[in-house]
């Protein structure tokens, strides 16, 4: 096991380096674009050239890449063009905000999805299964930008029950979290519920469940003790993938509700070509993707000891 963990971490570092290089090439490959981003659209050619020379962007890209890696490792993410402050000062608080939104969504989404998935999968083909399946498929098919508008239309403009934005201007307010969590949960729960249902339905047809039923064990006992652990192996991977989606997929929701999170920061940076913020956000997204995958793999071997990664 420790060997496997070390191998996975080695792979993580390698992937990060390669993706980091791509990110760097896209953002900092053309020094004139960087100079243009920093100096603004009205800067004259002479000013661009002077900036490039002054900041060492006339040197080879690979030298600049390794310097950049060294800086990132030491915690220096560069200065934001929009905020005119070190990127790290803005980046970490925004990541923490997204952590709160993603964390709350994750808990609610997983509870709802697993409950509905198990309920549906217990009796395949029952009216209960069909209703849950239809709801899951329908909600997963509605993209967040559409559900954000629809839910805001209902709860803000029509009923006037909820605040229209979630920027927490007067400090943390749990009421402002309701709409974004609703949008994310609505979109995300269906997929996990469908996976859980499929897995549960499969487990319910296995001989050991049939034996347990024939032995006369209470149905509740069979589900909780025997079926659930095995039924959760497949959804576990999906759930781990959802963490990754929650970090990089919250862009639309954060944008729609003015939530001061990582996703909104990334989008704003992309729109205004704030390259150092784009790079920091890109690296964070890649890190979470690779990290959750590694955790997923490790968790998978724990849940199902027959699985071994070489």
């Amino acid at each position: 096991m420790p060997q496997m963990i070390l191998r996975r971490i080695g792979m993580m570092v390698l992937i990060m380096l390669v993706v980091g290089l791509l990110l760097f090439m896209i953002n900092e490959g053309d020094p004139r674009l960087i100079a243009r981003s920093v100096l603004g659209p009205y800067a004259q050619d002479g000013q661009l050239d002077a900036w490039i020379m002054q900041h060492g962007y006339d040197r080879s890209m690979f030298i600049r890449y390794f310097e950049w890696v060294a800086r990132v490792v030491s915690g220096d993410l560069g200065d934001s063009i929009i905020y005119k402050r070190p990127t790290s000062e803005i980046f970490w608080p925004r990541l923490a905000n997204t952590g709160i939104l993603a964390g709350v969504t994750f808990v609610i989404m997983v509870i709802i999805a697993l409950t509905l998935g198990v309920l549906a999968g217990m009796k395949e083909g029952s009216p209960q299964d069909r209703i849950i399946s239809v709801i899951s498929i329908a909600t997963t098919s509605i993209p967040e930008y559409a559900s954000a508008v629809v839910l805001a239309g209902i709860f803000v403009f029509w009923l006037g029950w909820l605040p229209g934005t979630s920027s927490m201007t007067s400090g943390f307010n749990v009421v402002e979290l309701i709409l974004p969590v609703m949008v994310l949960t609505l979109y995300g729960f269906g997929y996990i519920a469908r996976m859980t249902r499929a897995s549960m339905a499969e487990v319910m047809t296995t001989p050991y469940i049939r034996t347990a039923i024939l032995k006369g064990l209470p149905y509740r006992h069979i589900i909780m003790k025997h079926a659930l652990r095995n039924a959760l192996i497949a959804p576990f991977t999906v759930i781990m993938l959802q963490i990754n989606w929650l970090l990089s997929g919250v862009v639309v929701t954060e944008f729609a509700f003015g939530y001061k999170g990582f996703g909104a920061l990334l989008l704003e940076a992309a729109l205004r070509r704030d390259i150092f913020v784009i790079e920091a956000c890109g690296l964070a997204a890649v890190f979470v993707a690779v990290f959750t995958q590694t955790i997923g793999d490790i968790g998978y071997t724990y849940l199902n000891p027959r699985i071994r990664f070489k």
């Binding site: 929009i82 402050r85 006037g160 229209g164 920027s167 201007t169 729609a256 509700f257 989008l267 729109l271």
Partner: protein, 573 residues
């Protein structure tokens, strides 16, 4: 009786005195100006601008105009009594606020405007009036301008406001090391050095005495008062960037009544009134700016759930939604904001005037305004001078003429039609693509195939002054001469058309050197005609801008450039 009513009463009494020459003691030309307004030979706006220019205070000028035009009784009867106190909450981007001289977004100046102030103020009605400068005068050749400063203004640190502060601020603008866009705005005080860099001319800023400052220009400049109310032209304390760091958000010393108590980029800016305002009552106690991101739906949602009282801008597509909110007022401002389908006249095929004229002849301005912008503006006339500009001269209306377009195309050597491409980055919104698409269908009738090269807005700003044909947005400027000088004079940095017409430059120089609005109108007619005939900028329309606020916000008027002026704003309930 309110301050304003007292002023109107005094103005009326003053004017009741027979055989009195109105304002003669202030300036010899003022009686003539008053007579012109009374005889309706000039517009109220022209009167206000010129009266202020000739040394009359803004309040007196407004009161006098009310009496001369007979507007006063109606207005004072309609006005409710303002209430003091309360917090105005506004949804707007909260951006960095280090050095006002390098501001590049109006939003930055909106927060700063309550801390640091300007020499002049262009009001919502597009009239520029005295502010920190109580009056000013220009030499006949418009090459030297003297500004007399108020002597009752102090900085928030207790220092007296003097001409040393103005000199320090303007000298900072003219120093290329500070990277201020004011270097371009005040071109008449700027020269190119041996190293090719622009810098201020020697002795451009001359301190006459503690409250008087003189600007010596290398060429005539008409718009000095207007230029002093641009978003990067706030007057800073003489220690800014010298005795302490050039960062307004960290050291908010200003002449305004408000103090910046909390500032977090991308989140909030909290302003609290900490002292009496030198210019009179300021009803609001606090102004809070909250940043709800880039999504305009979020701004409207914040207004709908009453998290804020006002939003910075109401996008066109949200007007219908806002109208359905019973507690919301929608404010419209007619502006000189526009976008021009400008040709680069050095590039083929647009180097041929007949091709340009043929394309321009296909334009039905009204149809584009109605379909692309829901009719919320005024039609353009292909010369970039707006009816709200004081020196606008009306030319015969333009009409779509497909026959003429076909004939011109044939004469230009394209009897079978032509295919051209327009670059568009939707820099001000998706209506720009719509405008291009409608024009494409209009031009098709004359055999002109227009391909729309749509690109991200950041990419458009890479090519805005290079693309052979492009759709470029231009912001509002209070005078028509300002934008023509910035954009169409030979060799200026923003001449995206590469226009080089000595006749136009001479006509513009002539107009810029004329103080009298009526005279200038006649000269502007020539400038407008030259631009129209050369067909360098087919210009579909001028667009209105909208703001929305809660009905409890009273006394607010939308500024054409969305600058926030809250001195008359108060909260009811």
């Amino acid at each position: 009786m309110s301050d304003k009513n007292i002023l109107i009463r005094d103005a009326r009494r003053y004017m009741l005195a027979t055989d009195r020459e109105y304002g003669a003691e202030i300036h010899s030309y003022l009686p003539e100006l008053c007579n012109q307004l009374k005889a309706k030979k000039i517009e109220r706006r022209d009167f206000l601008r010129q009266a202020c220019l000739l040394g009359m205070t803004a309040t007196t000028a407004y009161a006098m105009a009310d009496v001369l035009t007979g507007d006063a009784p109606i207005k004072s009867a309609m006005a409710a009594t303002p209430k003091s106190g309360g917090t105005l909450k506004v949804s707007m981007r909260v951006q960095e606020m280090t050095d006002p001289a390098s501001f590049d977004w109006a939003e930055k100046s909106n927060v700063a405007r309550f801390i640091v102030e300007h020499l002049t103020r262009t009001q919502a009605d597009n009239v520029t009036v005295p502010y920190l400068a109580k009056s000013w005068e220009a030499s006949d050749d418009l090459k030297s301008w003297v500004f007399h400063l108020r002597d009752d203004v102090t900085w928030s640190n207790g220092d007296k406001f003097t001409s040393a502060d103005v000199a320090h601020t303007v000298n900072r603008w003219l120093d290329p090391a500070n990277g201020s866009s004011n270097l371009g705005l005040f071109g008449a005080m700027v020269e190119e050095g041996a190293d090719g860099k622009k810098r201020g001319i020697a002795n451009a800023v001359e301190v006459v005495d503690g409250q008087t400052i003189k600007f010596n220009l290398k060429q005539a400049a008409l718009a000095m008062p207007e230029n002093f109310y641009n978003y990067p032209t706030a007057i800073m304390h003489k220690g800014f960037g010298k005795d302490y760091a050039a960062d307004l958000s960290k050291t908010p010393i200003g002449t305004g009544a408000f103090k910046l108590t909390d500032f977090s980029i991308g989140e909030r800016a909290i302003l609290k009134k900490e002292r009496d305002w030198w210019a009179g009552p300021f009803y609001l106690d606090e102004i809070h700016y909250y940043d709800h991101g880039e999504d305009t739906n979020a701004w409207v949602a914040a207004l709908a759930s009453q998290q804020v009282d006002m939003i910075y801008r109401l996008p066109n597509d949200a007007i219908e939604t806002a109208k359905r909110l019973p507690f919301v007022n929608i404010h419209e401002a007619t502006t000189a904001q526009t976008a021009v389908m400008r040709f680069r006249v050095t590039e083929k095929p647009f180097d041929n005037p007949k091709v340009r004229q043929a394309i321009a002849a296909c334009m039905d301005h009204q149809e584009i305004l109605d379909k692309a912008f829901k009719g919320l503006g005024q039609i353009g006339e292909n010369h970039h001078v707006c009816p709200i500009h004081p020196e606008y001269a009306a030319l015969p209306p333009l009409k779509q003429d497909i026959k003429k377009a076909k004939r011109l195309l044939a004469e230009a050597g394209y009897p079978d039609g032509i295919t051209v491409e327009i670059a568009n980055g939707d820099t001000e919104g998706s209506w720009m693509t719509d405008a291009c698409a409608i024009f494409k269908s209009q031009a098709a009738a004359a055999g002109i195939t227009i391909n729309i090269n749509k690109m991200p807005s950041s990419q458009y700003w890479e090519v805005w002054d290079k693309a052979p044909w492009g759709y470029t947005a231009w912001t509002h400027r209070p005078l028509g001469t300002m934008v023509l000088g910035l954009a169409y004079r030979k060799g200026v940095p923003w001449n995206e058309v590469a226009y080089d017409n000595p006749a136009f430059d001479a006509a513009l120089d002539d107009a810029e050197g004329t103080l009298d609005v009526n005279e200038r109108k006649k000269k502007m007619a020539l400038c407008e005609k030259i631009l129209q005939d050369d067909a360098i900028i087919p210009q579909p329309f001028w667009r209105s801008v909208f703001k929305a606020s809660n009905k409890r916000v009273k006394g607010f008027q939308t500024h054409p450039t969305l600058y926030h002026q809250f001195q008359d704003v108060w909260l009811d309930g």
